[in-house]
């Protein structure tokens, strides 16, 4: 009996011993086999997955911390084809809810041809996704008798959340902000100029799928947050005034820029027409070409008489004239063999330089330019930044055109016409920058819209930059006085009770495709600043092709006054008398 059991026990022990030894032997064999490295590599592939982590796009705020551009959640809706229980229900539901083609979805789900995942739609709003999720839950919780082979089911639907750019203020400041398309890139404005900083740096990393190897995902910083110099309330007020003025004066388009002349900070920049960047796909409905997106920086035009402030500044600075230099206006001035006339074709008789500016006499300014000479005239124009982009931190700035002696298309008559802003192309922002030199004691501030950038919790503010001193401080003061007196003497519609302002109107003829000018269609402009003794703002108004009147003094000047009336309230600027009394205390 014992012997009988003995051999059985030995057999079992032997079998167990062989199996027990075979397992480690096989382990050792595999580990040392030629395929060991390959197998190890394959297993490593399943231990990790390569994942690209995209930082959230940086936010954009106005100078007072109001959100101008943020991020909102939207969803990619897809189908995990292997999990689909009822292709008909899925295709039908998606076609109805998301307005997609039933056949396309159904055919892909029933004949996937190796496809595992189908993206049916992207950038789907949360409302639609909630609707689908609710329906999915309802179908999953049907009574058990519904659980037949052809039961309705939305199994397999996958919702992947991600961000899309959102502009809470809709069209407000859209010409400054630009927009972000679904490809994640910024177009126009700040979004394009600071695209890299806003987008941040995506990080591709190996993420362990093995929970034993779980570790912190790398903390990738979000894209930089931008704080703009723009004041939302001023921007809204200026846009409202611009839109109203376009209607009131029957103008085709327009632009208003408000800048702090001491720092170059752009407080508002309105351009019309504009659009809601949340619906950027309507771009073509609003703009014929890219230069219309932000007319204030991208659309050069012949500014007309507003340019006279630069001509007169150069003449005063060089000592060519003084405010009291007399001039006999005969109504015509011959320059380069071509006669130049006044805006009303009249002769204004004896005038001094203040009178020339006050009555905006082309003949006088052409004479001043001729006295200044082409070399000095164009030298001053260049010093004021005319002919070059200002370098404002917005995408798509145009440089305008300043023909100079030596250019193939420059003629001696250009000196005379350029003196009163014809034959030279500038953008509103160029004129604002040039005027800042007159308003700011001769120092010309570089216009900019970025106040600060926040990265990794730290805010870096942009200091003001100055692009030279085209004129002396004394000249700037003289010019301020001349322009303030001009406005007061002509009882301009640009005046605002309680505030002394300096400024100049502009009415520019528009060249036809033939190259000739017409008197019936004009660009009307006004540039002004104030308060004269301590300028806090420069305002540029440009209304294109108004139909109510062709004159800047009747169209643009009152718009300037409306803007200033808003500015003094929103910026907290007391009337001159109050301010001076307070300063004297």
């Amino acid at each position: 009996m014992n012997y009988e059991y003995s051999w059985r026990v030995k057999l079992v022990i032997g079998v167990f011993a062989i199996v027990g030894l075979a397992i480690p032997a096989q382990i050792l064999r595999i580990q040392n086999s030629p395929e060991a490295d390959k197998i190890l590599d394959q297993s490593n592939n399943y231990n990790w997955e390569v994942r690209t982590l995209y930082p959230a796009r940086g936010l954009i705020y106005d100078r007072n911390g109001r959100l101008l551009a943020g991020n909102e959640i939207v969803y990619e809706v897809g189908v995990d084809i292997s999990r689909v229980a009822n292709p008909h229900t899925v295709a039908l539901t998606l076609s109805v809810t998301l307005d997609l083609d039933y056949n396309d979805i159904y055919n892909t789900l029933t004949n996937p041809e190796g496809q595992l995942y189908l993206v049916v739609d992207d950038f789907v709003p949360p409302g639609k996704v909630e609707e689908l999720k609710q329906l999915q839950d309802e179908l999953e919780n049907q009574p058990s008798d519904w659980r037949a082979a052809d039961r309705p089911s939305l199994e397999g639907l996958v919702f992947r959340p991600h961000f899309q750019r959102s502009y809470p203020e809709k069209s407000l400041g859209s010409n400054i902000l630009g927009f972000v398309m679904h490809d994640g890139h910024g177009y126009f404005g700040v979004e394009a100029k600071y695209d890299e900083q806003l987008a941040g740096i995506p990080v591709t990393t190996l993420v362990p799928t093995d929970p034993n190897r779980a570790e912190d995902l790398p903390r990738i910083p979000d894209g930089a947050t931008l704080i703009l110099t723009i004041d939302r309330d001023i921007q809204a007020a200026v846009e409202e005034i611009l839109d109203r003025s376009l209607l009131e004066h029957g103008a085709e388009a327009g632009s208003i820029v408000v800048m702090d002349p001491k720092t170059g900070e752009v407080l508002a920049m309105a351009s019309a027409p504009r659009f809601d960047p949340n619906q950027y796909w309507t771009y073509d409905d609003h703009f014929n070409n890219a230069s219309e997106f932000n007319r204030a920086i991208s659309l050069p035009y012949e500014p007309g008489s507003v340019f006279k402030i630069l001509t007169m500044s150069g003449a005063l600075d060089s000592g060519t004239v003084t405010p009291s230099t007399p001039f006999l206006d005969t109504g015509v001035f011959l320059i380069g063999g071509v006669p130049v006339y006044n805006w009303d074709d009249a002769a204004w008789g004896y005038q001094d330089m203040t009178g020339c500016m006050q009555h905006s006499l082309n003949v006088c300014l052409a004479w001043v330019a001729s006295q200044l000479g082409p070399q000095k005239f164009y030298s001053y124009a260049r010093a004021f930044g005319i002919g070059n982009p200002t370098g404002i931190d917005l995408a798509g700035e145009a440089g305008g055109r300043l023909k100079v002696p030596g250019d193939a298309d420059w003629y001696p008559v250009d000196l005379g016409t350029n003196a009163f802003g014809q034959g030279v192309a500038v953008t509103p922002i160029q004129m604002v920058m040039a005027a800042s030199a007159i308003a700011n004691d001769g120092r010309m501030a570089a216009p900019h819209v970025l106040y600060g950038m926040v990265q990794n919790g730290r805010q870096y503010n942009s200091p003001p930059r100055y692009l030279g001193t085209p004129i002396s401080e004394a000249t700037a003061h003289t010019m301020n006085e001349m322009l303030a007196n001009s406005l007061e003497n002509e009882s301009s519609q640009a005046l605002v009770t309680g505030y002394r302002l300096a400024g100049k109107t502009g009415t520019a003829q528009i060249p036809l495709p033939t190259g000739y000018y017409t008197n019936s269609i004009t660009n009307t402009s006004f540039i002004g600043w104030g308060p004269v003794d301590d300028p806090r703002f420069v305002v540029y108004v440009w209304l294109e092709r108004p139909t109510s009147s062709i004159w800047g003094s009747e169209v643009a000047a009152p718009v300037f006054a409306q803007v200033v009336e808003k500015l003094v309230v929103l910026m907290g600027i007391p009337p001159d008398s109050v301010r001076q009394a307070l300063a004297g205390q």
Binding site: N71, A214, E215, L217, R219, D233, E565
Partner: protein, 153 residues
């Protein structure tokens, strides 16, 4: 050695008993090691999964936070605020409506400062226990105990 030889020659059952005992001790020891190893490994796996869940929750929370910031932006937008102010009977002030008074020490509002005082996001916040192997943990414990032991009183 003679003693051992004597015992084995005289009492074979004792030899078997001792062998059995030795095997049993080895088995118990191996079982203990395996048990500890399994316990630590399973706890590490559970914690690893929790980490992955927390990572997902952080991502979700950041996304929700950004979305809420945007929703707040919509609620506080100019259009929205102007409509609410108008509904409440407020009107825009004109220059002539405003009276200026001197307030000693008053400083005009400066543009916003969005600096944050927060810990460095780049720093790995995961405790070592989540990433150490058992062997590394033993090493650390040995070094730590050695250091504290050498500190003296």
């Amino acid at each position: 050695m003679d003693f051992v030889r004597n015992i084995t020659q005289k009492t074979p059952w004792k030899t078997q008993q001792q062998l059995f005992g030795f095997v049993l001790v080895v088995l118990v020891f191996a079982a203990m090691i395996a048990g500890i190893y399994l316990n630590v490994t399973s706890r590490a796996a559970v914690l690893g999964r929790e980490i992955q869940d927390l990572e997902a929750q952080i991502t979700e929370a950041k996304r929700a936070n950004a979305d809420l910031t945007n929703q707040l932006g919509v609620l506080l937008s100019y259009q929205s605020m102007a409509a609410r102010a108008e509904a409440m009977g407020f009107t825009l002030a004109a220059p002539e409506d405003i009276e200026y008074v001197t307030i000693p020490g008053y400083a005009a509002a400066e543009p916003v400062d969005l600096s944050e005082d927060r810990p460095n996001d780049q720093k790995n916040t995961l405790p070592d226990a989540y990433t150490q192997s058992l062997w590394e943990w033993f090493e650390v414990q040995l070094v730590t105990s050695g250091l504290s032991g050498g500190g003296g009183q």
